[in-house]
């Protein structure tokens, strides 16, 4: 095995990629579950309410908080990519990265505040 030294390639843009890919994959897996839950309404209000009561559980709330974070992260990361790929290149990109992280966190906090 060549190169025992840790790859020092792990700079900011690399982690932005990892976050974007992981959040995207998790969201893609979550989506069918989300639709299934909503379609419980077809079986009547009671069925959906039963499910919604389950979501009052604090652990579920925490998971929902995580989901909102993932959504906000994937969205703002995606906007950053659109800027890099489609707009004239500039050093704005680093500022966007910071903003992306900030907005993602803010959205999650907002949800948490509302949820509790």
């Amino acid at each position: 095995m060549r190169g025992l030294a840790r790859p020092s390639n792990r700079h900011t843009a690399y982690w932005a990629f990892v976050l974007h890919r992981v959040s995207g994959l998790l969201l893609a897996l979550f989506l069918p579950v989300h639709f299934w839950a909503l379609s419980l309404a077809i079986e009547g209000e009671a069925a959906l309410d039963g499910f919604l009561r389950w979501t009052e559980n604090p652990l579920v709330k925490l998971a929902e908080f995580g989901l909102v974070l993932l959504l906000a992260a994937h969205l703002t990361g995606g906007l950053r990519l659109l800027v890099i790929e489609l707009l004239p290149w500039s050093e704005r990109q680093k500022a966007m990265l910071a903003t992306a992280g900030g907005i993602a966190f803010a959205a999650g906090v907002l949800f948490l505040i509302n949820v509790y």
Binding site: I42, A46, L110, N114
Partner: protein, 114 residues
């Protein structure tokens, strides 16, 4: 998959991303607003039932998601399993059908509920 087709996948991915950026923002704000004071089925149904505007909005949302998520998953699989490109394409196709079917079932169910 041919090179022009792969290029069109990239175009579709970016175009659907732009649509989703708007749709997700509206959806996030709506959810955050709706969750205040607890969420009930009645709230959700009341918002969507018989409402053509929301029906239209969520239909566009589902269509965009049905384009965007499968292409993303296909890319991940194509890179993780380079010796099984057909599997990646097939998985993308399956996810698209699942999202379209599940999404419209939920939307139409809520639109016509009650």
């Amino acid at each position: 998959m041919s090179v022009p087709a792969q290029t069109w996948l990239w175009i579709a991915q970016r175009a659907s991303a732009a649509v989703l950026a708007l749709a997700v923002s509206v959806h996030l704000v709506t959810v955050i607003y709706a969750v205040r004071g607890g969420l009930t089925a009645a709230d959700i149904i009341a918002r969507l039932q018989g409402n053509v505007a929301w029906l239209g909005f969520y239909s566009v949302f589902v269509l965009a998601a049905a384009v965007h998520a499968p292409i993303g998953v296909r890319t991940i699989l194509a890179e993780s399993l380079p010796r099984a490109p057909r599997l990646a394409d097939a998985a993308g196709g399956v996810l698209m059908i699942v999202i379209l079917a599940g999404g419209f079932r939920a939307i139409l169910g809520l639109y016509g509920a009650g």
